[in-house]
């Protein structure tokens, strides 16, 4: 589809970029006292309008801008996840005390730009767009991670993020250039067509290209061994941003990786077919399975000895990437839907856990596990909500995390491959129970009731309690979400 025609399909993204420009101008010309509030409101309105246009977008799968971007239910599902995560963070950001000494208007602006990048990531069909969208998201995140200019940890996290980001995107570019060298095109469908006819000798090159491309994707989803930035960045960044980084870019990384790897290294260009097989001779499943095993084991085992809750949740988010990669080793329709379901559930439970961390941080200014002692008596509702988020992260019934994990494991069991990986996944869930319960123990058992009550801002506590509802609801009645995921499982493919 040509450029002008494409614009009508590109409205949500256009709204985001044009409102970002409006916000820049407002930022420099409006000097009133309520500037932060005004820009906050403008960004929320922009997100709302983008959401409305996204809702109205019900066309069949298509590719816009000469096949560079896909507009299909799959990308729309992820765009909803990004919008939801962003709105939650916007709602709580004005009440995070960490940000008080910094001009929040730039923070809102950068978040809008990051959302734009995430939208591109979910719909990229071209290697150039893949690289560009990852960079848009990364550069915005670098700035956001280092937003607390006076704090050394925040500066450190930003610097580490930049260095790791530069390195991994460089390595990924090398992988992409190998792919371009083999196929002579940057369009994923052309590459797929070229790869199916590669003589056997080129398979080593192909495997190397896959490994190098995985470096870039693995960096975004915090896959071992490309995870080293995660704990430091998550600890140093403002907690609101940590919550955001642990959910939205990770979901985008999965959206991008599943689509690009699925098409490029698949034996058929059509991802809609239920069965997916890698290009003949390529050890795709084994490679992902090894990464998955390493990711969840390292994440869980290092999480045990963390004393900072933000670091603990960082390692737990690494472990969750490992669980989701477990299904990616198979990559049939069932696996993709299981990952999408898990990401949706993960959005609620992980955001919830981090919002409680903001609640604590507002009160004490630290995020050590010590500060959580007695929260069960001081703020019972929030503590119970945190307990439910933690149960869900562990994967205990009757929470949504349990259902999500069941779907992930059932992919391996039904495909009758990688039994060892499923066993390892179950063992890892047991390990994770230990460190999640440490937080729970600190909240309810480690101190006597003192009669002291702490209360956060109602908007913060209210959001925490609102996030608890889907975690519980999807734990007992998950078919609406699963139906949504199944109906979103429709990819653009050139044969349509």
């Amino acid at each position: 589809m040509s450029n002008i025609q494409s614009l009508t399909y590109f409205l949500p993204e256009l709204i985001l970029t044009s409102s970002a420009m409006v916000i820049i101008l407002t930022d420099v010309f409006f000097r009133g006292r309520n500037r932060n509030r005004l820009i906050w409101l403008l960004s929320l309105v922009a997100l709302g309008i983008a959401a409305i246009f996204l809702l109205l977008q019900t066309t069949p799968p298509d590719a816009i801008f000469y096949g560079a971007l896909a507009v299909d239910p799959y990308s729309r599902f992820f765009k909803w996840i990004f919008l939801l995560a962003t709105v939650v963070i916007y709602v709580v950001s004005p009440y995070s005390r960490e940000l008080d000494n910094n001009p929040r208007h730039e923070y809102y602006l950068f978040m809008l730009l990051v959302v734009f990048g995430l939208f591109l990531m979910a719909s990229a069909l071209d290697l150039i767009i893949v690289y560009l969208s990852i960079e848009i998201v990364s550069i915005g995140s670098f700035v956001l991670a280092g937003f607390l200019k006076q704090e050394r940890l925040s500066n450190e996290s930003s610097l580490k993020y930049v260095i790791y980001g530069a390195l991994s995107s460089g390595v990924m570019l090398y992988g992409l250039s190998l792919l371009f060298g083999i196929a002579g095109s940057t369009n994923v469908f052309d590459i797929q067509a070229a790869l199916s006819g590669v003589p056997d000798k080129a398979h080593l090159t192909l495997a190397v290209a896959l490994l190098l491309v995985l470096t870039g994707f693995g960096y975004k989803i915090a896959m071992v061994p490309f995870h080293f930035w995660t704990p430091d960045v998550y600890q140093g960044a403002p907690t609101t941003i940590t919550a955001y980084l642990s959910v939205a870019p990770k979901a985008a990384g999965f959206a991008l990786a599943l689509r690009i790897l699925g098409i490029t290294f698949g034996s058929s260009p059509d991802m809609n077919l239920g069965e997916w097989l890698p290009v003949e001779g390529l050890p795709f499943g084994t490679l992902i399975a090894i990464f998955s095993a390493a990711t969840m084991t390292v994440g869980n085992i290092i999480a045990i000895q963390q004393s900072s809750v933000k670091r603990l949740l960082a390692y737990s988010s690494i472990a969750h990437a490992g669980y989701m990669l477990m299904a990616a080793a198979i990559l049939n329709a069932q696996a993709v839907s299981a990952i999408m379901f898990y990401l949706a559930v993960y959005l609620f439970m992980n955001l919830g856990a981090f919002l409680v961390a903001i609640f604590i941080h507002n009160r004490y200014g630290y995020d050590e596990i010590e500060e959580w002692k007695g929260l069960g008596f001081q703020a019972p509702a929030v503590a119970v909500a945190m307990g439910i988020f933690l149960f869900s992260l562990t994967g205990l019934p009757p929470t949504a995390g349990f259902v999500g994990k069941v779907y992930l494991f059932s992919v391996l069991i039904e495909a009758q491959q990688f039994w060892w990986l499923a066993v390892l996944g179950v063992l890892n869930s047991v390990v994770s129970l230990y460190y999640y319960m440490r937080i729970l123990k600190a909240m309810f058992l480690d101190s006597e009731p003192t009669g002291e009550r702490i209360s956060g801002h109602p908007a913060l506590s209210g959001t925490i309690l609102l996030l608890m509802i889907p975690v519980l609801l999807f734990g007992v009645y998950w078919s609406p979400l699963m139906n949504l995921v199944r109906s979103s499982l429709e990819f653009f493919s050139p044969g349509m």
Binding site: M21, I24, L25, V28, F29, P103
Partner: protein, 117 residues
Amino acid sequence: MALILQRLVAPARRGALKHSTYECGEEVEGSAWTQFNIRFYVIALVFLIFDVEVVILFPWAVVFKDIGLVAFVEMLIFLCVLTIGLVAVWRRRDLDWVKMVLPYARGRYARLTRDPD
């Protein structure tokens, strides 16, 4: 590990010319290991705006006659976006070289204030 490996494997042929600073083929003047004022960083970023603009304008000018009005409008939008960047930088006083309030300042320097943020 990688550093040691390349130390062992890579051939070492050192020379005065090889160690000199690369300056786009120009005659080298002094060392690159000097301290720069951090303000050059902002100037470099602003330069980038116009640099990218020119890089994109060249191929556009080549095919302008073939595409016509569409190309004109597209480039107009692109230039507007870049101009917003320039306006933002200007208003935020990042183009001012002297930023502090100087107690003894006169003339146009007397009106300078600190960064509004």
